[in-house]
Subunit: 353 residues, 2 copies
Amino acid sequence: MPTLTPKQVTDVCAAIFEAAGAPEDRAQIVAEHLTRANLCGHDSHGIQNVPALISLIKEGMIKPQGEWNVVRETPSTALIDGGLGLGQVVCQGAIKVAMNKARTVGSGSVGVYNCTHIGRLGDYTTTIAEGGMIGVIYANSMPGVAPYGGRTRVLGTNPLSYAFPTGDGDPILVDFATSVVAAGKVRAAQHRGEKIPEGWVLDKDGKPTTDPSDLFLRASEPNSAGVLLPAAGHKGYSLAVVVDLLGGALTGSGSSKKVAKARNGVFVQAFNIESFVPMEVYLQNLKGLVAEVKNASVADGFDEILVPGEPELRSKQKRLADGIPIPDFAWQEVIKTAKDFGLDLDTILSLPK
Amino acid sequence: MPTLTPKQVTDVCAAIFEAAGAPEDRAQIVAEHLTRANLCGHDSHGIQNVPALISLIKEGMIKPQGEWNVVRETPSTALIDGGLGLGQVVCQGAIKVAMNKARTVGSGSVGVYNCTHIGRLGDYTTTIAEGGMIGVIYANSMPGVAPYGGRTRVLGTNPLSYAFPTGDGDPILVDFATSVVAAGKVRAAQHRGEKIPEGWVLDKDGKPTTDPSDLFLRASEPNSAGVLLPAAGHKGYSLAVVVDLLGGALTGSGSSKKVAKARNGVFVQAFNIESFVPMEVYLQNLKGLVAEVKNASVADGFDEILVPGEPELRSKQKRLADGIPIPDFAWQEVIKTAKDFGLDLDTILSLPK
């Protein structure tokens, strides 16, 4: 399993996206997004996703030179047509619009349609928090999750993320799918040959299953795909509906069922903290909560209590020091994708010949 | 068990709050809020809560004549000092401010501190949705829930609610506690002499328990109270932190641990739909999602799939037709509270002498 430095990951990704037709600056934005996803341990949104994204470019589903535009606007809101451009580039644009509005009138809320895959949601809210504001994002996605009480794929994993600046350290970061798990965790269990807990997946007949392969379509068997269940029953389901209505209905992107492969309906917000309270009041309360969490007694079976965002932060610290490990099968796919464009990975990686 | 008409519930509540010092119009606002909670089946926020609220007024924790004021403001945001007035009155004021801002600049976001118990969150978002806008509310509350991995009461049940107008019917309403259940459900199991499922509560020693009485302080035994667990582990916990930071830190109300008995730190938002997309685009997408949910295949063990808010709506339809049942012990408490003010409930209820 190769281990790359963050710069190597960025350089490989940027070279591939540039070769696929993205302008240099946009290729760099996407590459840095993917690298940060790897650093945070969200590998399904990292370099591992490059082959799939490049396929989508080749299919015309993502237009690497597509332009985004604000098509409707009020002092605190905007609607953006993403132009099917690179999702990470479009969404970075959307958060800038939201932050500018928050700077001017206290808060900014921006919807995006014609938006291709935006990747890791926590990246955008973190950027907003690093700008000193509170960030919120909701994104619906293609269907894979049953409504509570159902067994049909209606909702996406419909994730949401919040980030809060902490003044002197990394933001408090909340970033989760409203399904009981993301599909990637089921795929990972399948790759490891492990069972999954009951309550994650129903098979094609709507029966509870612990076999991860029951979630996925078998090439030999039409209608063999199962369905993910919502987190916490009606609560995760309700939240998935919220994400679908904010990301899909309020932006005109359409519901999860109508969101095309590798698209997201996106709704993002930025809040200017000092429009509400002086920064020191906010920070004092935030730090108070963090201390209360950290001082709580630990439950049986746990070593410590983490603040939301700490798992990602620890991964980042470890991978900044040790490098980013990439599973062999994923790395072979990246190499193949690069070779298809005639790229010489050894040169890009600055490896000795 | 007496069964009252909605008007009787409102009249009894209004008379008691007026007797406790609330101006007539405010007593009416609170009484109607409580009645709607009963209609929706959220009885813990209905007339059953009157004795506790009146005790808080007598203790000086709620000031029935307290005034709320906007103390900080931008075009799209406001901070309100609730003045420890009646929470329902203050929060109705807050949503009006948010809706006015949304009408003017597309969205309105309002924080409230010095805010006493606001009751049922879904009531406020429903009001916003009935005004044709999307409503969102977060409220932190006194601690009773462990952080994920912990066994100490750090977070409140920290609920949140969203409501979406549907054009021609009741709103889609999401309203839930970020704990696995609200404390009221554990209390109800205790009253019925039933066990609770594992995963709801840890006892005073941090051990999983199925005995609902393990959640509550035994009068004879200091430190005997247990703790509720967050919904879906780290997801409900993360969301509880979000509610705490938006409701507590961004408003200056303080974290759950610092929120006094029967107070809420409140953050509310209204979005003007047509600032984003034409109403018909929004409604078409929303109705599409509802149809997709309703057309999904039903899972084993379920009769049908409900849209968020349907359980409340069905309760309302039933109770509008059949009246609001009030358990005897709760009704006796209400009678006692009324008698303490020298009120004649028979006259208020217009019962034959």
